[in-house]
Subunit: 192 residues, 2 copies
Amino acid sequence: MEKTQVFYNHIKRFINIDPEQFLEILPFFHPGKVAKKEALMRGGRHCRNCFFVLEGCLQMYYINEKGVEKTVQFAIENWWLSDFLAYHHQEKSDFFIRAVEPSHVLSLSHENQQKLLAAHPLMESYFRQVYQIAYGASIMRVKYLFDYSKEEIFFHFTSQFPEFVQRVPQYMLASYLGLTPEYVSEIRKKLS
Amino acid sequence: MEKTQVFYNHIKRFINIDPEQFLEILPFFHPGKVAKKEALMRGGRHCRNCFFVLEGCLQMYYINEKGVEKTVQFAIENWWLSDFLAYHHQEKSDFFIRAVEPSHVLSLSHENQQKLLAAHPLMESYFRQVYQIAYGASIMRVKYLFDYSKEEIFFHFTSQFPEFVQRVPQYMLASYLGLTPEYVSEIRKKLS
């Protein structure tokens, strides 16, 4: 399937948009290929873009005081990723974004988002719904972090997203789930 | 100040809206007074509404398997609160919402949100921005939960939001920060 078709199908789930309109909005998004481990955003820099995954997988992380990488978010196909607070206020971000796999993404700069929304107010509805869901999901994540034991977090996640678990290195998954890599490797040994 | 004026001033920070338009959108929001400890949403029920705090403080929590209340979110003046995933999909929610103090709120039912957005597409932009910020803030919260020690979480929060800490009972604050009430009470003793 044409990469842009993926995006069109995704947007149509949220708003009524015809192929002609879609062709008008497309130039606001900048398509790009990223190699495995390639950086899209670096901590300490101005947060200019948010990224939509057409194919592949992105990771957002920061580096803590001890120099350890901590994953706060992943994005796979049909998901947006950025430090949305820094993106909204056009400030510096503490977060890094890089590709976990070779990926195809669309970048939307803050400037282009403003222009897109001014020219195509219909897209306000699209982003409103995307953010409403993303915000809701993040509240649910806090619930999981509070509510489940380490073992339960791991099992819950791997049973809900088995395909995803295959795609992501163990140490990244551990850090996303708030676990140590040693702990995840221990559970995996137990299981096998 | 008139309660509706609070809401008008808040909305104007995000979109250009004149007093006449504001009067047209106001009927979609249902104003209400809630007593301290009064419930606005109950776990296990259909999530119909989201709530805007004009005055006061709301708490969103769930009850875990051991019967312990866990706070996932607070809302004070100018903040929206709901289980936005259940609200979006119009499903049952696991969360409860109640007033921490006597409060004035605006409720927006999902049905009214749809009607409001259809009649006043300008409000798509308002909600898009509100959710963009809320989603961004929730990613930052995951960073804090991961990155700080228990003591640091407590100090960071109390130094950033001293007024808020005064308004909320200790056990709720503890549960919001992922700490035990005993731990918070211990730190407070150390400090005094």
